[in-house]
């Protein structure tokens, strides 16, 4: 079985428009978390998020007709996916092929997307009609065609990024759209990797995208006690919750044989991954971190490496009391006293939900290439529950070229991904 290599990446979030910019922000201790500008938060219990400022749809996706068919979250996913496909040289390679070979290239290129975003705002498009109808559904049905965009359903499809990145890049192979909350992007990488290992495709894009910063969503998370009053402090004694970000990330994956055969740039490798459920319900998680332990163990077994081979850990570190404490426990259980340097990125990017794991993986690869484990700028004093965890405000050096990236989501799902970076 061929190795699965990484031939390109792309990412966008409040901290930058590619993984290198995001890493630079993190290394410099700059967080994208700031007062929310997309709606007026006067009187709101939550005022901060890591928004993408100077959001210019045209500069992200240069197809104005397409803008009418998709939402903000899709725009981000398409941007990241296109960048990864471009970096991996899909288009230039296919253009160099004869017609039959070009078709085969498309048929053998897959796409796996972890999708989120727009959950509530999608439906607000019906508010003008509902206001007109005043609760009279007969009127609602009658005035529907004159009031609501006929493309409404298509604009709100959760698999829009899968569809449009596919059409734009002529990808026609194995695919999936994973709607599994925060672990969606990571699961996209894991399932794409498995498809390549099994010969279902020769290469595949993995994408994660999400835009959780919408008022109703912010309010719900707040009511569930998940959001910080100001900022995100992973593993810190003063942590009080998470902070939303928005963005997308993508990795171009390929079997090593196929990548070498077409002379594609190889920048890293997916070693393996694993994901599990804690069976705890939608919001609850187990205090002992059992799911995180099992996800890491599954990833190590899948990659067939020992824990000692891990050079750095990018923790989920979402800044909530229970998630960070249970994650710290899990890491100490797996790695014991010999835990490699642990860092987390959400303090700088915000929590990108479905995009979190994959964007953080693109940054982890950039960090490994730069031979650094960036510090956590908002980390001051370790919480007792996380005391022995090797987290720091200062940068450290990775022990190897392998990163473990962790991700946790609603429905008590935990995912772990192991990637290797090839240094230039």
């Amino acid at each position: 079985m061929s190795k699965v290599v990484i031939t390109g990446s792309g990412a966008v979030c409040g901290a930058g428009r590619d993984p290198a910019q995001m890493l630079a922000a993190i290394v410099e201790g700059r967080s994208a978390i700031a007062p929310i500008e997309s709606f007026d938060t006067t009187g709101w219990p939550v005022k901060n998020a890591a928004e993408i400022r100077d959001f210019n749809a045209r500069s992200l996706v240069d197809d104005r007709k397409l803008h009418k068919l998709i939402r903000r979250t899709d725009m981000l996913g398409i941007y990241a996916g296109d960048r990864a496909a471009e970096a991996a040289g899909y288009g230039t390679h296919r253009d160099s092929l004869a017609e039959d070979a070009a078709h085969a290239f498309s048929d053998r290129t897959g796409i796996y997307v972890g999708s989120g975003g727009g959950a509530f705002e999608n439906q607000y498009d019906f508010f003008p009609l509902m206001a007109q109808a005043h609760g009279d559904l007969a009127k609602f049905g009658g005035e529907l065609p004159d009031t609501v965009n006929p493309m409404w359903l298509l604009r709100t499809l959760p698999n829009n990024v899968l569809c449009h990145v596919g059409i734009r890049n002529r990808l026609k192979g194995a695919n999936a759209c994973i709607t599994n909350h925060s672990v969606g992007g990571t699961l996209a990488v894991i399932e794409a990797t498995e498809a390549l290992r099994n010969g279902e495709a020769d290469r595949a894009l993995a994408i994660g995208h999400d835009t959780p910063i919408e008022p109703q969503n912010v309010l719900y998370y707040h009511r569930c006690g998940l959001l910080s009053a100001d900022t995100l402090r992973p593993f810190d004694a003063r942590r009080d919750g998470s902070v939303f970000g928005e963005g997308a990330g993508a990795l171009a994956l390929e079997t090593e044989d196929a990548a070498r055969a077409r002379g594609a740039p190889i920048v890293g490798e997916v070693l393996g991954g694993g994901y599990v459920s804690e069976g705890a319900g939608l919001l609850a998680i187990r205090e002992d971190g059992d799911g995180v332990v099992r996800a890491i163990e599954a990833a190590l077994a899948d990659a067939q490496i020992d824990a000692s081979g891990v050079g750095m850990i990018v923790a989920h570190g979402n800044g909530t009391s229970l998630s960070d404490a249970s994650e710290a426990q899990a890491l100490l259980r797996v790695f014991g006293n010999d835990c490699p340097p642990v860092t987390a990125f959400k303090w700088a990017l915000g929590h990108l939900i479905a995009a979190a794991g994959i964007v953080e993986t693109t940054i982890a690869l950039a960090a490994l290439r730069a031979n650094t484990v960036p510090g956590i700028a908002t980390f001051a004093k370790a919480d007792a529950a996380c005391a022995k965890l090797p987290v720091s405000q200062r940068a450290r050096t990775p022990r190897s070229d392998v990163a473990l990236v962790l991700c946790r989501g609603f429905a008590a799902t935990d995912a772990a991904l192991l990637v290797r970076a090839l240094r230039a």
Partner: protein, 458 residues
Amino acid sequence: MSTIDTPHPPRIRSAPSPRLRREGRAEGRRRVAITGIGLVTPLGNDVAATWTALDAVKTGAAPITLFDASGFSTRIAAEVKDFDDGVITAPRKLVKFANRSHRFALAAAEEAMRDAGIAPTDDDATRWGCSVGTGMMGVDFADLSSVQRHCAPDGEIDPHKLLSDISASDPLAFCRSQSTAGVALLTRRFDIRGCATSVHTACASGGQAIGTALKLIRRGVVDRVLTGGFDSMISPVGLAGFCLLSAVSADNDTPDRASRPFDASRNGFVLGEGAGFLVLEEWEAARRRGAKIYAELAGDGNSLSSYRITDSPPDGDGPIQSMRAALADARATPADVDYINAHGTSTGMNDRSETSAIKAVFGDDAKRVLVSSTKSMMGHLIAAAGAVEVAICALAIDRGEVPVNANYREFDPDCDLNLVLERPRRQKVRMTLSNSFGFGGSNSCVVLRSADLVDDAR
């Protein structure tokens, strides 16, 4: 070509990878058995009732009763009827987190688990997985209406008013709206602690969820999976979405005949709702415990049409690749297949494209292989469709009976398939294909094989 002019540079050989062990495993690939089935469909609220209705060629379509649809261009749908939450044995507290589609899921999953006669225990819960196809409608219309009345009385949302809105403050409304609500309920209900995933590729969701489940067992990360799909879009907003696209049949006066896949006069699908669940087990484990095996889940194929968001190309490009991939994955050829449960939505474009694809893949065998779309009777269950239809294929193999393509009258030269007409066909069914093609261009094909053929071959 002479080996001397090899166009490739010599490969750099890396040291033997420890992953060779995985390759060894792939050689002796694990087989997967279907050992439990559960259904909640417009034809019946369990497997027995659904099958009886299919056998009797009943249709589930009727005027919409769930809300006042009198103003809509389409006023018919295939609703789940007389569904009683009481059949769900989960704690009431858990059921509060469930919307209509989640309740269908809980009921169908319970039936499937009961049917399989096995459930996770504390010892093996981590060896169970859950893979589901989830519908796209998170927010209940009642919750949406409540937010609109309070926060957008003139049609424009005022975010400030959300702060005092009851629905926007209700954690239960939030939980029900989440795309992972279904998988969370199921993993909690049955204490499933292995891989859990939720997928959505519109109408291909159910098939893709089952394909994912198959791969989880094959790669050895779990031994058993509860898998399926659930959906309910029969709401003002859900129906509106399809009416706006003119995708649904507006034969309001003849709901029984509105869904007529492959018929020349077809004019759109009939929206359905429901859930279908399967219990999958690693073959040897199922045999060891003496489980009833409905069929082997033998292969999965999926592809992307990358053509248009709503259509497959008329020549079947896209579905062709998913069917071929599924057959190859099942190590089968078209000659092995006796029945295709078609996607067959009863839209002009789908049925034509699917016919082209079946003919391209099956060649001369297209004249022989039986084809029917059970959407003719139960409507289109969207994210649940693929899962319910794979379940029907398993039942067809197990019972030796192929359901009909109902409501067919008028021949369409673009849909010249060997349709099962008038009455179900009783015969040995060796292998089946189930097609599902989604908006967005995802195509799923799932292949089943009769269990006796597996045992004979061993």
